[in-house]
Each structure stands twice: as structure tokens, then as C-alpha cells.
Amino acid sequence: MTPEEKTLFYRRRRARNWAILGALAALVVLFYLISVARLLRG
């Protein structure tokens, strides 16, 4: 594996990890908001 390929690999892995973090955070916020909305609805 060349240094360029290694750099590319790490860059893409980092991008995937950030995307997963973002998706999980969004899911947490969404569950919180759904809970509040359902509580308000009674």
C-alpha cells in the first residue's frame, strides 16, 4: 500500500466515522423530540 493510498484510506474512514456519529446523534435528538411530542399529545 502506497502512502497516498494509506492517506486516502484514513481520510475515508474518518469521513465514515463522522457520518455515523452524526447519524447516531440525530437519532438521539429525534427520539427525545418524539418522546416530548407524544407526551404533549397525551
Binding site: M1, L8, F9, R12, A15, R16, A19, I34, A37
Partner: protein, 319 residues
Amino acid sequence: MSDSAIHDTKGAQAPFTLAEGDLAGSEPRDWIALLKPRVLSLVVFSGVIGLLVAPGTMHPILAVTAILCITLAAGAAGAINMWYDRDIDAVMRRTMNRPVVTGRISPDGALAYGIVLAVGSVALMGLATNWLAAGVLAFSIFFYVVIYTAWLKRRTPQNIVIGGAAGAFPPLIGWVAVTGSIEALPLVLFAIIFMWTPPHFWALSLWAHDDYKRAGVPMLPVVAGARETRRQVVIYTLLLVPLTLAPWLMGFSTWAYGAAAALLGAGFLRHAWLTWTDAQDAAGVSLTKDAPAKACFKYSITYLFALLGALALDRLLLA
């Protein structure tokens, strides 16, 4: 790839080995591409229409969640479709750059991603709205993956006719998410999208059928020829246009929607007619590079957006 072990220099420890195809790795956009984002615009729009035309109110957060679930479920079905169809996708120009075909995402990865999204979207729909909506959502995924992709697509030229039902579910799901019940109007919306799909897709397949022929998919132009396909476009458009008047005739909308549906339908019929009467040789091959069919395809997209939009506006402002 035994010579491609990467040693993590930032503290981790054991070297690991990359599988073939993982060398460059996938990017987030590859995972988004698995969801077929271009198809999702109509799914989102028709789902929103279902929510808007349904009687009753819904908390905005729950409405957004319902649309998100419909979108994710459609995307999940698309991802599983890409996993299943990776062999034919590889030989079709239109699909040969899909991430599973190019190896940026492994087939197992695509399948797991699709299943997780499918289960997650159905569960979230049930928790946020109601379980009837979740059940219909689950059935729509099943229909697209099993009935259309795995069963019909490679077996019959009627694949689009029956499989088109898969794309007709979003307004029904949107309605059920609000009301918790299945009634006449969402079934009419389902029927409209169901009848719209064949002329829409066959207009496309008239100029894209080489791809399907190469892949061995029995689309109508491949099996029955271009001339018969043009005839079927006209027949299905003739069936569709009266059906679009049903919401007005059944009292679900005012005359304003009826007039809009009639005008839009007249335009669709004109495009279908021009497609049928396109200059063609003895074998039915277009002498105009299928220009009328391309125009018909483009119009069909505008048509459905405008038709559903007109119904929603009518219900919200006038009915």
C-alpha cells in the same frame, strides 16, 4: 490482499488486513447512493401529500418523523435491491457505477445496511405514529424487495405493472400515519400512482431498452417491441386520466382539482399520442431518437407532482 496491512500509528495496536475492494474504502456519499436518492424525491413528496390530505392533525415532529420513516424505508428497499441486482447492474450502463458493482461497498455491507434501515424505519414509524402505518410500511418494503425485485423483475414484462404498486404506497402510509385507518381517498391515490407507473416507465424504457436487453431483463420493449410498448403507453394513459378525476367525483375535492386533473391529463394524453405516432421504421424503431418518448417521460414526472400538489392545495384551501 496480504500486502496491504495497515498499521495504525495513532495508538492502536494490531495491524489489520484489508479485504479486496476496501483499499480505497467507501465514502458517506456511497452509502447515500445506496438509497437511490433520485427516486426518493417522489416518495417524499407523495408521502407528504398523504399527510396533508388526511383529515385530522398531527404534531409537526411526528409528521416529520413519519416522512423520515417513509424515506428511509424506500431507501432501505433500494439498498436491498442493489444487493440483489448487482449482477445485472454490472452490465447496464445506467447502473454500472453503483457502489456495490464497483466494489466500494461489499454486497454483505449493502444487505446489512438495507435490513437495518428497514427494521429501524418500521419500528420508528410504529413508535412515533401507529402500528398500522408501520405494518403498511413494512409491507411496502416486502413488496418492492420480494414481489418486484426478486420475483417479477426478471420473469415477466408485466413487472412494472404489478411492481409499480411498490411506489404507490407513500401517500397511503402518510394518510394512515395521521388517521390510523385506511379509507377510500388514500386508496384512490394509491391507484393513481399505480396506473401512472407503466406509461411513465415504458416511455423511459423505449430509449433505454438496450440496457435491459443486455441484462436479460424482460422489459416490454425487449419482449414485445417498441411499437407495442407505445400502444401500451397510450392504453395506460387512457385508463389513468379518468381515474385522476375520482377524488373530485367522489366528493373529496372541489371542481378546481377536477379541472386541474383534466388539464394535466389532456397534456399527458397528448404526449402519449405523440409517442404512439412517432415516426418509426417497419420494425418500430424510432426515426426521431425517441424524442416524443423522452418528452412523455419528462412530462409524466411533472404531471404527477402537479396532480398531487393540486389535490393537496384543493383539500387545504378549498374543500
